[in-house]
C-alpha cells in the first residue's frame, strides 16, 4: 500500500487515538508523580540487563524448575519449529481459546491456526479486531483505532445481534460469547509477561480472560520468548507493575496470574490427582527466533524491551500510520525486532527509514531503550546489504561530491524541494 493511501486510511484512527492518548497520559502522569522515576527506571534497566546477559543460564534453571513441577517445556529455535510443536500438542479442528500475546503473533500463529482450528480470541480488543477483520494497532490496546459503529456492524453481520454502539453493551455481549467458548474449549493458549528462573510464569491482565483461559480448559499452552526470563519473583512483580504503569497508565493490572505447576489435589488418601479446577496439562513453548544471536552484541539492547508500548504513544510516526509502522511488532522498536526475527529485507520494507530519530521513545521508555541509535546501526547494515532509499543515495553522493547534502544547484540560494538534512 502506498504511504499516501495509508495516511488517508488512518485519518479516522487519529481522532480515536488522540482521545485514548490524553486519557492514558494523564493517568500515567498521576501514577508516576508519586514515584522516584529515576530510581525506578534504573532498577528496571538493571534487571533487564542482568537477565539478558545471563539469559542462557536463567533459561536452563527455569526449564529445570518448571519441569520438576510437571510443566512440559519445549524449546523452539524459530517460528517454524514453534508452530510444529503447537501442531503436535493441539489436534486439528479442535476449538482453541486464546489470549493476547505478541510472540504468538510473531510466530505466524494466526495464518496457520485460524484455518486449521476454530480459534476464539478472548481479549476483548483482540476479539473485536478479529471479527472486524482489522489488524491490531497497539500491543496493549489493539482495537484503539476501530470506531464503535464498525464494531456493532461486525457483530450484527456475524452473530445477528443488534447492539447499541456503546462500550458497555458491546462488552456484555462479547463477554458472554467468549465465556461460553472458554467453557467449551479443551485447549487454552496464552502468552506470558515474565518467567522466573525459579519456576514461575507470570501473566498480567485486566479482563480476567487469562485467568479463565489458563484454568478452565484441560490443557493450558503458554508461548513465550526467551527474553522474558528473569531471576526471581521480585523482579517479575516489579516488571509487571511497570508494565501496568506504562502500558495502560494504571497503578496495577486487575490480576497478576502466577503459575508454577498443574492443578492438583492430594486430599484422597494422599494420592496426587492432577487437573482439579485448573488444567491437567501445562505446556510452555520457549521461542528464540533470533534472540540468542544478538545477546552480547551491540544490538542486545533490543531485548531489554518489556513490551509496554509507551514508546508508541509518543512516536510521531506511529501517530500517523499506526500498525503500518513495523510488522508483527509495531513502531521503532517493532522495526528493530523485525530485524532480529526476520533479517534486513523485511526490516527495510517495514519502515526502517520511517524513524525521525527524535528520541521521544527513549525519553518515555521505562528501560531508556535507545531506539534511535539502534535504528542507525541497522540502517548501516541495510546500506551494507544494498538496501537503501534512492533519496539517501543521492544525498550521500552529493555530500561526497559537493561537500553538502543538497548538491550543486543549492549554491544559488533557492530553497530546495528536497532538503535532506538533520
Amino acid at each position: 500500500m502506498e504511504l499516501s493511501e495509508i495516511l488517508q486510511k488512518r485519518k479516522n484512527s487519529k481522532r480515536f487515538f488522540k482521545k485514548a492518548y490524553y486519557t492514558y497520559i494523564s493517568r500515567r502522569r498521576e501514577i508516576l508523580r508519586d514515584l522516584d522515576l529515576n530510581e525506578l527506571k534504573k532498577t528496571i534497566r538493571r534487571i533487564r540487563e542482568d537477565s539478558i546477559k545471563n539469559v542462557f543460564e536463567l533459561k536452563e534453571k527455569a526449564v529445570e524448575n518448571l519441569e520438576k513441577n510437571g510443566v512440559k517445556v519445549f524449546e523452539a529455535k524459530d517460528s517454524k519449529e514453534a508452530l510444529r510443536i503447537l501442531e503436535k500438542i493441539i489436534p486439528e479442528g479442535e476449538l482453541l481459546v486464546k489470549s493476547k500475546s505478541n510472540v504468538i503473533k510473531e510466530i505466524g500463529f494466526e495464518e496457520r491456526f485460524y484455518k486449521r482450528n476454530k480459534v476464539v480470541e478472548t481479549d476483548c480488543g483482540d476479539f473485536i479486531v478479529q471479527i472486524c477483520g482489522e489488524s491490531s494497532s497497539h500491543p496493549v490496546t489493539p482495537a484503539l483505532h476501530i470506531p464503535l459503529e464498525k464494531v456493532v456492524k461486525a457483530i450484527r453481520r456475524r452473530f445477528r445481534v443488534r447492539l447499541k454502539p456503546e462500550p458497555e453493551e458491546i462488552v456484555s455481549f462479547v463477554k458472554n460469547y467468549i465465556r461460553r467458548k472458554i467453557f467449551e474449549a479443551k485447549y487454552g493458549l496464552t502468552g506470558a509477561n515474565v518467567i522466573t528462573s525459579d519456576g514461575f510464569i507470570v501473566i498480567i491482565e485486566n479482563e480476567g480472560n487469562i485467568s479463565l483461559v489458563s484454568k478452565i480448559p484441560n490443557k493450558h499452552i503458554i508461548v513465550a520468548s526467551i527474553d522474558k526470563i528473569v531471576k526471581n519473583l521480585d523482579d517479575a512483580i516489579l516488571i509487571s507493575k511497570v508494565l501496568s504503569f506504562y502500558g495502560t497508565g494504571s497503578k496495577s493490572t486487575s490480576y497478576i496470574n502466577i503459575i508454577s505447576s498443574l492443578s492438583k489435589t492430594a486430599d484422597l488418601q494422599k494420592k496426587i490427582v492432577y487437573g482439579v479446577h485448573g488444567p491437567e496439562e501445562v505446556y510452555l513453548v520457549l521461542v528464540d527466533n533470533g534472540r540468542s544471536k544478538i545477546v552480547n552484541t551491540d544490538l542486545e539492547e533490543i531485548l531489554y524491551c518489556i513490551g509496554c508500548g509507551a514508546c508508541l504513544y509518543s512516536c510521531p510516526i506511529y501517530r500517523q500510520v499506526f500498525e503500518r509502522y513495523g510488522k508483527d511488532y509495531i513502531g521503532g522498536i517493532g522495526v528493530l525486532k523485525t530485524f532480529m526475527i526476520e533479517g534486513i529485507e523485511q526490516t527495510f520494507n517495514s519502515g526502517l527509514y520511517f524513524c525521525n530519530l527524535c528520541g521521544s521513545c527513549k525519553e518515555v521508555c521505562p528501560v531508556s531503550l535507545d531506539v534511535p541509535e539502534i535504528v542507525r546501526k541497522i540502517r548501516e547494515i541495510s546500506v551494507k546489504s544494498g538496501y537503501e532509499t534512492k533519496t539517501n543515495s543521492e544525498m550521500v553522493e552529493n555530500v561526497e561530491i559537493f561537500g553538502n547534502p543538497f548538491g550543486k544547484s543549492s549554491k544559488n540560494g533557492e530553497v530546495q524541494e528536497k532538503l535532506y538534512c538533520c
Binding site: P316, Y353, L357, P372, E380, V415, Y420, C422
Partner: protein
C-alpha cells in the same frame, strides 16, 4: 603580536549546510549578532557537511570520511573552538566526532548559549520590547539530544514576550516531522507530523512559533494561522546591531 596570532587558536563559526546554502539570511543573522557581541571568529570555505544526515541514514564509513575531512580543515586553520547555530551540527560535533576521531578535542559552543549570556550581561541591547504570546518548539537535537532547553526560553522572555508552552514540550517535545531523513524520504509523512505540531502551537493561542533549527523552520513554516520564525529572526527584531 605575530607569535600570538600564530599560536592562539581560532574561533570558527560553522553555520551548517542549510544556513550556508539555503537559508543564507539565517547565517547572516547569527554573524551579525555574534559581531555585535564582539565575538571574533573566522569562517572557512573548505569545511564540509558535519555528517549528521549521512550518519543518520546509516552511511557510517562516509560519516568517518567527513569527520576526517573537517578535522583536517580545522587543523589547517588552527581552530580551537567552534560556534554552532544548527542543533544537528552542534550535537554531531560535540558528541559524535570524538567517538570516531581520537584526536578531536575542539570545544563546541552553541550560539544560543552565547547570545543568552550576551543579553543577560547587557552586551546585546534590547531596544524594543516584544509583546504578546509566543510559543517555542524544541528541536530534537537541541533539546533531547543536547539538553539545551532553558536558554532559548530565557531569550524569548528577555525579549519581552509571554512564553506559553505547547502540550508537548521540552523532554516530551514532538518532532517537526522532518528529522531522521523523513522530510526528504517521505515528505507527505513529514507534513502530517508538522501539521500536528502546528495544531499544538495554535492551541496555545500564541501569535508566533519560535524554533532554533533551520530544518524545523522549513518543516513548520508551510502552514498558515501562526507565524513561524527562527530564533535569530526574533532576536534581530528587538536587538540593534551595527551595520557591517
Amino acid at each position: 603580536m605575530i607569535i600570538e596570532k600564530v599560536l592562539k587558536p581560532n574561533v570558527l563559526y560553522y553555520p551548517g549546510c542549510l544556513k550556508k546554502f539555503v537559508y543564507r539570511n539565517l547565517k547572516e543573522n547569527y554573524e551579525k549578532i555574534l559581531r555585535e557581541m564582539e565575538v571574533k571568529f573566522i569562517e572557512v570555505e573548505e569545511e564540509v557537511c558535519c555528517g549528521s544526515p549521512v550518519r543518520n541514514a546509516g552511511y557510517f564509513q562516509q560519516f568517518r570520511n567527513l569527520v576526517r575531512k573537517n578535522f583536517e580543515v580545522f587543523r589547517k586553520y588552527n581552530v580551537g573552538k567552534i560556534i554552532l547555530s544548527c542543533p544537528a551540527c552542534y550535537y554531531t560535533f560535540s558528541k559524535e566526532y570524538s567517538k570516531v576521531c581520537r584526536e578531536w578535542k575542539i570545544e563546541c559552543v552553541h550560539a544560543i548559549k552565547m547570545i543568552w549570556e550576551g543579553i543577560r550581561d547587557g552586551r546585546l541591547k534590547i531596544y524594543r520590547k516584544g509583546r504578546g504570546k509566543v510559543t517555542y518548539h524544541d528541536p530534537c537535537h537541541l533539546g533531547r539530544y543536547s539538553g539545551i532547553y532553558e536558554e532559548p526560553r530565557m531569550i524569548i522572555k528577555a525579549l519581552g514576550y509571554d512564553l506559553v508552552e505547547m502540550e508537548e514540550s521540552r523532554e516530551t517535545s514532538l518532532c517537526c516531522g522532518s528529522g531522521g531523513g523523513v522530510g526528504a524520504n517521505y515528505p507527505i509523512l513529514a507534513r502530517e507530523i508538522a501539521k500536528e505540531r502546528i495544531e499544538q502551537a495554535k492551541k496555545t493561542r500564541a501569535k508566533i512559533l519560535v524554533t532554533s533549527c533551520p530544518l524545523c523552520v522549513f518543516s513548520l513554516k508551510k502552514f498558515s494561522g501562526i507565524k513561524t520564525v527562527e530564533i535569530s529572526e526574533l532576536i534581530l527584531s528587538h536587538v540593534k546591531v551595527k551595520k557591517w
